[in-house]
Symmetry: C2
Subunit: 181 residues, 2 copies
């Protein structure tokens, strides 16, 4: 089982994330949880979320990048669902050994993510908080899938990313664990 946590604040305005999600949603053994649809008032059902992770060997976090990070509801999900005694700390082994794939889109292109670009840093400068969240819960961190310039790239390029994404999800789905990160 793969649990895909999808966090798009405006699902109807999405271009790239929708194409990416549509490319994988019918892979067998994959379950999508669209947080902004499930919890429009941010009232996360922690038990339901934990149950959905418990049955998975792989966790996907997919979202557009908002302010160099995850959108607010996914951050709130981290705060509530990845609880001490469940995800970390004494007795907190629920996610130990699972794999975590981060799939994110950015508005800026690769030029923007340079020391001299409008975001003043390479994208890698914004990875540690998300990666370390997964690692602190004992998950193995897979190579992230990042789509830059999500509003501007051509349909062809977007389709290529979608195809890559599907391929990775299919591989993860057929593996039962142990790919490592």
């Amino acid at each position: 089982m793969i649990t895909l946590i999808y966090a798009h604040p405006y699902p109807n305005r999405s271009r790239a994330n929708r194409v990416l999600l549509d490319a994988v949603r019918d892979v067998s053994g994959l379950a999508v949880r669209s947080l902004y649809d499930l919890y429009p008032g941010f009232e996360i059902d922690v038990e339901a979320e934990q149950a959905a992770l418990g049955s998975a060997h792989t966790l996907v976090w997919q979202h557009p990048m908002y302010w160099y990070s995850v959108p607010g509801l996914l951050k709130h999900w981290f705060d509530k669902v990845l609880a001490r005694g469940w995800a970390y700390g004494a007795g907190g082994t629920a996610l130990q050994g699972k794999r975590c794939l981060w799939v994110t889109t950015t508005g800026g292109d690769e030029q923007a993510f340079q020391a001299t670009g409008m975001h003043a840093h390479p994208l890698s400068a914004f990875v540690p908080p998300v990666e370390q969240t997964a690692r602190f819960c004992g998950m193995s961190w897979l190579e992230p899938l990042v789509v830059h310039a999500a509003h501007k790239i051509s349909r062809v390029e977007l389709s290529e990313h979608a195809r890559d994404y599907r391929q990775r999800i299919e591989q993860l789905s057929s593996a039962t664990g142990g790919e490592g990160g």
Copy 2:
């Protein structure tokens, strides 16, 4: 005017953040907005928040670190309040030239924030998303105030941090701008 955005998910369980906040809350010209008290259901009043920032020359973000970042409600506040056309993008100059002070507490001590420590990175690895959020809005970034091991440090040490904090806020309060970052 200084606007202090306070984001503690469990204000009643706070130790360090409460001491820090109490040390500055009566500085003249400072207004505190406690997000988790104002918006327990995450229903941020964007206009009220923007108005509170508009009248300030300095903005303070104070919170305990949650998952190497700001708590969910403060992230949601970034997403909603720092809107395109207001905080950035065409016509988005509302925060230009204001100063931004980040005040945060961590559970881990300085040892934990090392390559070999339990958080696998120095704290500086987790700064770019927050710093670049301020800078992208044209704010000048001040040297952050970080209190490590917030649950464990002695009262004396905590009082010293509180005194430093008050001193910095008083200086910022008497300056009318231009300290730079």
